[in-house]
């Protein structure tokens, strides 16, 4: 471990090559630090290696080790291995130095640690509550001492106070949590001067349902279903991310057939949601006919999903070790035929969308997220790739069977609604290529590894490129087929900040289409 020696030399107070229980499994190295202050080492990772801070999260180990841990996950461009720093925070000094001032990408993540674990992010530029609403009592639900099923009395605390936006002719428009369309709940507070939006404030976590804590309360075979309910439009991606984490932790080899089947289903999830989004973007600029075709196409994919998995949204298919059911030859033919059919129709759908100048006019230069801003805010997934952020877990940290099929990762610099749509168009075409190759490849063999007990006390990280972007799950296993902790990071957590930036200066009537072009998951954010 060269990295470890180098770090020990540079940061002798923080890293010791011999003492700490470092761990290396599959595509991840975990380095145990001696203290909570990671500022210098994070700075070093970013400036010397060009690393990206992927995620920050906490764990309560007070009962066993008298400390909390903060975990910092780094990724280095071109390097398939994740580096995870484990920083102990003594239970009697529950605070850690914040990184948010220099790294806005961790803004919400650090505040979530404050709210859920009661660990103070000292020096955070905006330490207000985010993951618990302001009217909640002073509780820290992710602490082990807090009972999951506790029924809190009616909330009587102060409600959130939005920052005032002042000036002649400036108005604030509150929207939500119950919206006009059929979408998830959140609150948007717009400050407008006439039509243009000056400033947008968001409140999320309306759908917070205790998901991470619930993982600690159920056996792993049930928890797979909970993972599928983190964000219902990404059931298969979240389910796979979760199962991969358990497989890494317990050193299970997933058979090749299962990996190819997972790849196919992950791509079907992408195709289905991207087509839905292309149609929804068209609707929001009044091109309803295009949406009619798009939603009809999406329905074809959803029916294929049902034919392959028994569920229109791919639920109940993934399991630890592989997938629950194998496919007959007839199902493989169904896959091939439907993909061929959808591919043809997709081309005419895109031709239809592109034939409309007025649609292009509404989408181009609307809701721009600049590449510099996207990088600083840590924007990932479709939204990142439309703004120059060249990341894709499938290519950078291959999983399932992605190393077997070549595909291109589309990246644009423009960062407007149009290019967020074009990233989707390109990706759907790449997905078709992967689907053809995988359907032809589909090797014989078992579809699931034989079940084995999950060893306790193991930690593992897993990443999946869901259709929105990078999904992370991190687990620590417990005795008896259970989990000590499961951390979930949906790409939406980072990407809300992008919407705040992208809407500025746009007219409020364009907000729906800008929002749709990101199409973030509220439930994935709020958990």
């Amino acid at each position: 471990m060269d990295l470890l020696e180098e770090l020990a030399e540079k940061f002798p107070d923080l890293v010791s090559p011999t003492q700490a229980p470092h761990q290396a499994v599959r595509n991840q190295i975990s380095i145990a630090l001696r203290g909570p202050d990671v500022r210098a080492i994070a700075e070093h990772f970013i400036s010397a290696y060009g690393s990206r801070l992927v995620a920050v999260f906490a764990e309560d180990r007070v009962a066993d080790e008298s400390v909390f841990y903060n975990y910092y996950v780094f990724e280095q461009s071109g390097e398939p291995t994740y580096v995870i720093l484990q920083a102990p925070i003594p239970a009697d000094q529950p605070n850690f130095p914040s990184l948010a001032a220099g790294l806005p990408a961790v803004n919400w993540q650090e505040r979530e640690i404050q709210d859920w674990f009661g660990l103070e992010a000292t020096g955070h530029p905006n330490p207000r509550r985010v993951a618990l609403h302001d009217n909640w009592p002073d509780v820290h639900p992710l602490r082990k001492s807090f009972p999951l099923r506790e029924v809190l009395p009616p909330f009587e605390g102060e409600r959130h106070v939005y920052r005032p936006t002042l000036g002649e002719g400036v108005f604030q428009i509150p929207v939500g949590p119950v919206h006009a369309g059929i979408i998830e709940p959140g609150h948007f507070n717009f400050a407008v001067a006439g039509e243009p939006i000056l400033y947008l404030q968001l409140r999320m976590f309306y759908t917070h349902k205790g998901t991470e804590k619930l993982f600690e309360d159920m056996p792993i075979h049930r928890a797979v279903f909970l993972a599928e309910s983190i964000s219902g439009d990404s059931a298969f991606s979240h389910g796979t991310a979760f199962c991969q984490a358990i497989e890494t932790a317990s050193d299970i080899e997933v058979p090749l057939r299962a990996r190819v089947m997972r790849t196919i289903l992950l791509e079907l999830e992408r195709v289905c949601n991207h087509i839905g989004d292309i149609g929804a973007i068209a609707t929001d600029v009044g091109f309803v006919v295009a949406n009619a075709h798009a939603s009809r196409l999406r329905e074809l994919v959803v029916r294929l999903n049902e034919g392959l998995t028994g569920s229109r949204w791919l639920r109940g298919m993934v399991c630890v070790g592989g997938v629950r059911r194998t496919w007959s030859l007839a199902q493989r033919d169904l896959l091939r035929d439907t993909v061929n059919h959808v591919e043809r129709e997709f081309d005419s759908l895109i031709a239809l969308v592109q034939s409309s100048d007025s649609t292009r006019d509404r989408l181009e230069h609307t809701g721009i997220l600049r590449p510099e801003t996207a990088k600083v805010l840590g924007i990932v997934g479709v939204a990142g790739r439309a703004s120059g952020v060249d990341l894709d877990v499938r290519r950078d940290h291959p999983y399932a069977a992605y190393d077997r099929y070549p595909f291109r990762v589309p990246v644009y610099q423009e960062g407007d609604v149009l290019h967020r749509m074009l990233v989707r168009v390109d990706e759907v075409r790449e997905s078709f290529a992967i689907l053809h190759a995988a359907a032809n490849d589909l090797p014989e063999g078992p579809h699931c590894a034989p079940p084995e007990p999950v060893p306790p006390g193991r930690c593992a990280l897993s990443a999946v490129e869901g259709w929105r972007g990078e999904i992370l799950h991190w687990v620590r296993t417990a005795p008896g087929d259970r989990l000590e902790r499961c951390k979930i990071k949906d790409p939406s957590v980072n990407n809300w900040a992008a919407i705040v930036e992208a809407v500025q200066g746009n007219i409020i009537a364009d907000f729906p289409v800008i929002n749709k072009s990101f199409n973030l998951s509220y439930s994935g954010t709020d958990r």
């Binding site: 909330f155 949590p177 219902g232 439009d233 059931a235 009619a292 939603s295 034919g307 109940g316 998951s521």
Partner: protein
Amino acid sequence: MFKILQETLITGIATVAYPDVPAMVSAQFRGRPEFDFKSWRDARPAADVCPTGAIVVSDVVGQADPEGTPPANRRVTVDYGLCVFCGQCADASPEGAVRVTTEFELATYHRAGLMLVADYSLNPDGTHRQFIAEYQAVLTAEDVGNQLSEAVHETLGRSLAIRQVDAGSCNGCEMEIVALNNPIHDIERFGIHFVASPRHADMLLVTGPVTRNMELALQKTYAATPDPKVIVAVGACGISGGIFGTNYASRGGVDATIPVDVYIPGCPPRPEALLYGILLAVGRL
């Protein structure tokens, strides 16, 4: 313009005729698990694998009487209001006592109408010795009182305006509700449409689990909806809290916060199941 018309003409009519003709359902689709209580030798493995606790086994110690009817030592309860239709109970019960069907028309007026109960006496190893009885849950006077009146059906039975409220769901149910508006399911052919404000709505279509953070918003939305109104709870989470249940952040099913008239099981319920429930709620089936 020509291109748009051409596309539309080539496509033709995509809309399905459900419920006038049966729904197009794949043979693979996992709908209602059917329980043959009489031949079920052991419910414990199924209860063990059921992810949401929809199958509950509760044992009481009783004295076996070798002569007369054996005492009921075990009660097995199945709750379709919690079921996520994963089919694992069928896989765990190899003797074929549990069979996954493709049935999805499961909506009811009563929470209790989603429950099945069976009693057994036991062998020493815990397997079922003898099947004793099977009950459909008995409806209470309160349940019957909740049944929507003819008057409501009269008023809302023709054109119906629905306000959808996501009170904490994972977005799965929303996707199927959106699909109701696509050209294939096209709910507008029934004169049913989704409106932007509860003030214009006759029906609230509510998904759950109801989070603590959405409780107030749901109550306010309910209050803002003019009478007569119909409240429909959608999906396992909307009915019972589903896999989330009740916890520090979740109040469980919709009926813990506002009164519910119709329950639509599913995870998520497919568009035809939603349509069935909505039509049931306004007396149009």
